[in-house]
């Protein structure tokens, strides 16, 4: 597995421009060797990537590189629109959809000179925690192919872990960046809601969706965030505050800093090996001079039930646009307009999308709105307040990412509620909007990676990344 960081690769490219081509070729070789088994990509773009790498190498030769990301080989989760490149959301509904424009995050990365090697597999419409909902097959875990890679950004995390790309861009609505990063032993950041533009991201649940990187190290995440974060007039929910130089704050000493730990975390079905790994993590931070402080998040246990009302409500609205008329799957069996809607949507959507559309339609319907949707929005306020109160006392909160390490393929596929509980430590943070970094912090007895979350204050990615990087340096990654 190739583990060079973005800065190491960049240094190499500056010294020997032809290494851009060599690096891509080595990655394409890895893809050739592993992709049949892993299935981390829906579409691989080897030909255009070879051209992009040659162009990048020429820029380096002339001393005109576009910056540290120039020539870096990336994957893009297949929920981001890529101009002239098929974008499926891993759903047959969009099997032949070719966007006419780039998502803002893709546009920014292209301007920074990256080499896009393909579109990463995920659960269809980003609905799921295992990629088992993908219409293009499950992505297997590179550490153990009998297990899932997590989801929904499972293809992104597996590809980074297997060395099939240097980093990937994912989306996180209830844990979809952090959980697969933890299952695959890589680093993933869910930034603050509104920090990264979502223009061109196929919408799942609009009050929760965030865009962020999955990468090899916290330093890489910082470098990528410096490029992709920021206000975008095309996304009215993006927030217009300056983007800090995240990589500049990575080495700040942690002496005297405070880390919150909530006792509620151990009462939510946490595996004992993950609990021990987190205890060991606390010792590492203590060794760096930080203090562990007890905080309370009394409403975090309601994260998943609130999430499974608000999220399907928004899903049912966002998937309303797939009508078989403007783009996407169009039924050939329909007789009239209304019949066309029913048949196109029946044929195009898989079981999980249908479940969420129905659930969302139910919680928003007259007579149930107050009991479910409005109630959930109120409990969401309490969850948000819990995090605000806790983070007023500490710099960051340390938390598990997942109750268990990567589960077996098929293990949870038949029970939606069991699958939803994979989000128990992550969904609440989307409801509150805070940034959260998922980084590896050990292995269990089956040699599967364990992850931890570092949760920060709104728009304080700097501190979160600082804590992540200092841990990696101290613990030796």
């Amino acid at each position: 597995m190739r583990k060079e960081t973005i800065l190491e690769l960049n240094k190499k490219f500056v010294q020997r421009p032809d290494c851009v081509n060599d690096e891509l070729k080595a990655i394409l070789k890895t893809i050739d060797a592993r992709e049949d088994n892993l299935n981390a990509f829906v579409t691989i773009t080897a030909e255009p990537a070879l051209q992009d790498a040659m162009d990048s190498a020429k820029r380096y030769e002339k001393g005109q590189s576009k910056g540290v990301l120039d020539g870096i080989v990336v994957g893009i989760k297949d929920v981001f629109c890529t101009k002239d490149l098929r974008t499926t959301a891993s759903s047959k509904m969009l099997d032949d959809f070719v966007p006419a424009y780039d998502a803002t995050v893709v546009k920014k990365l292209k301007e920074a000179g990256v080499v896009i090697v393909g579109k990463n597999n995920c659960d269809a419409w980003a609905h799921g925690a295992s990629t088992e909902n993908s219409d293009y097959g499950v992505t297997k875990n590179p550490w153990d192919p009998s297990r899932v890679s997590g989801g929904s950004s499972g293809g992104s995390a597996a590809a980074v872990a297997a060395g099939e790309c240097v980093f990937s861009i994912g989306s996180d609505t209830g844990g979809s960046i952090r959980q697969p990063a933890a299952f695959c032993g890589v680093v993933g950041l869910k930034p603050t809601y509104g920090r990264v533009s979502r223009y061109g991201l196929i919408a799942m649940a609009s009050s929760l969706d965030c865009v962020g990187p999955i990468a090899r190290s916290t330093e890489d995440v910082a470098k990528i965030m410096e490029i992709i974060a920021g206000y975008d007039e095309k996304d009215s929910t993006s927030v217009n505050i300056p983007v800090p130089k995240y990589s500049g704050a990575l080495n700040k000493p942690l002496k005297g800093k405070k880390i919150g730990w909530a006792k509620e975390f151990t009462e939510m079905g946490l595996d004992s090996e993950i609990a021990s790994a987190l205890e060991a993590t606390k010792e590492v931070y203590k060794g760096l001079g930080a203090e562990i402080v007890d905080v309370s998040l009394p409403n975090i246990k309601y994260g998943v039930p609130v999430y499974y009302i608000i999220q399907p409500a928004e899903v049912s609205s966002n998937l309303g646009r797939y009508d078989g008329i403007r783009y996407g799957h169009s039924s050939e069996k329909s007789e009239n307009l209304i019949d066309h809607y029913f048949k196109s949507r029946d044929e195009g959507f898989g079981a999980e999308a249908k479940r969420r559309i129905m659930l969302g339609t139910f919680v928003l319907s007259a007579g149930y709105y107050d009991a479910y949707y409005n109630k959930a929005m109120k409990v969401r306020t309490l969850i948000r307040q819990d995090f605000d109160k806790a983070l007023a006392k500490v710099d960051v909160i340390l938390a598990p990412v997942t109750p268990t390490t990567a589960f077996k393929i098929g293990e949870k596929a038949s029970d939606p509620v069991q699958m939803y509980l994979a989000d128990v430590y992550t969904a609440a943070i989307n409801l509150a909007g805070n940034p959260s970094l998922s980084i590896p912090c050990g292995f269990d007895k089956n040699e599967l990676p364990i992850g931890m979350q570092i949760i920060g204050k709104h728009f304080d990615e700097e501190t979160v990344l600082n804590f992540g990087h200092m841990y990696e340096m101290k613990a030796g990654k």
Binding site: Y193, L337, F349, L359, K375, K378, Y420
Partner: protein, 96 residues
């Protein structure tokens, strides 16, 4: 507890314009009943003095000036994804 029946499923599917097979209706009724049973634990939370949160960064009604802006995407590019077109328009099935 809310027990979802296949009659409820029919009604919701009508609202959502979603075609479903008989087997799908049966399993959806069972699964949705289980999910709603699970989320029912929110009943124990007192929210009588709590305001709802619909989004978290405090933005409110972001609007732009009502002015035409040029789009850098050509009409043909957008229409190329439509299943059926005619003379530069998207073709729709007959309404009746």
């Amino acid at each position: 507890m809310n027990k979802i029946t296949t009659t409820d499923i029919d009604k919701l599917a009508q609202l959502a314009r979603l075609g479903l097979t008989g087997a799908e209706k049966e399993s959806l009724a069972t699964e949705m009943t289980a999910i709603l049973d699970y989320v029912k634990q929110l009943d124990e939370v007192d929210v009588s003095k709590v305001e709802p949160t619909s989004q978290v960064t405090g933005l409110c009604n972001v609007t732009r000036e009502d002015k035409m802006v040029n789009c850098d995407i050509e009409r043909d590019e957008i229409l190329s994804n439509a299943p059926e077109t005619e003379n530069g328009f998207i073709k729709v099935k007959s309404v009746l």
